[in-house]
Symmetry: C2
Subunit: 145 residues, 2 copies
DNA sequence: GCTTGACCTGTGTCTAAGACCTATGTTTTA
DNA sequence: TAAAACATAGGTCTTAGACACAGGTCAAGC
């Protein structure tokens, strides 16, 4: 049995119930709560957190936003905007545009790194595994220009 | 004037001298020192760290290894191997091979994310910036399947 | 009534590689 | 002698939680 209260037509969830409903861990729920992305109320008799249906919707929203590449801080800004009855959409569009651009740069950087590593590995094919001499550490890496 | 001691044919470097010589920050030098990648000795009169020429070579080595994609922990393992008069080369080759593979996977994941973001942005072109209703937060993100 | 298991609480540490800041001590230079 | 430039240790901050620990709560079965 869960902790839904039908008489009041208000459902509350405990941490694990909420986590399971959104297919995330309880650690994630607690983490989001600490960051104030979720806003449970306290059950004063046992000090437990009680999550509302709105929290469940928020939690699912967080999941979708995350797979689109939004960070938790960005998601928080979006939620805050929506709570002020502002449209968060311009913010949402703006963030994703910037992230797409940023990712392109990181992509290129990662590509450069990958090429560099592959080139090094090829060059090392003709070099032996010698024991370092003097202050040298590894002639393979030290041979890189 | 720096703190090189020519009479003993041993040069010592202060943090900033070493950092400048390897084109890194003093914070980086201190960080590597804390991680025991560099091993200065203490000047007992003023409690300063004194770095040797071997430290400078290590510091330059760290720089080269880093642009090849090695992490500091991996670099530490390599240095430890070389200090035991073992050849660190098999380790060096092994790490880079694994990282090349890992990068390929991360590359693919990043590509999937990028495509997902671009697709979302295209789909949002035909949607308006409405104000959230009820428990909804942002219909743009919530429209993602 | 008691135990057991499953849940809850807060707190802390760990991940990578430093950047930045504070407060304080030392050395060099004008 | 005072200021500038160096040094020290220590702390916090960045991502998104995972994992561990110690102890409180609650339902079920015996």
């Amino acid at each position: 049995m869960n902790s839904e209260v039908y008489s009041k037509k208000i459902s509350f969830y405990q941490v694990k119930e909420l986590a399971d409903a959104a297919h995330v861990t309880t650690d994630a729920v607690r983490f989001y709560t600490k960051k104030r992305l979720l806003k449970p109320v306290r059950n004063k008799t046992n000090n437990y957190q009680m999550y509302s249906h709105a929290d469940l919707i928020r939690l699912k929203f967080i999941g979708k936003a995350k797979i689109l590449g939004y960070t938790l801080n960005e998601i928080k800004q979006i939620i805050i905007a929506s709570e002020k009855s502002e449209s968060p959409c311009p913010l949402v569009r703006d963030i994703i545009k910037k992230r797409i651009e940023k990712n392109k740069n990181q992509f290129n950087e990662a590509m450069v790194l990958q090429k560099r590593m592959e080139k090094a590995l090829r060059q090392w094919e003709n070099m032996d595994d010698s024991i370092p001499v003097g202050d040298s550490i590894c002639h393979l890496i030290e041979s890189i220009t």
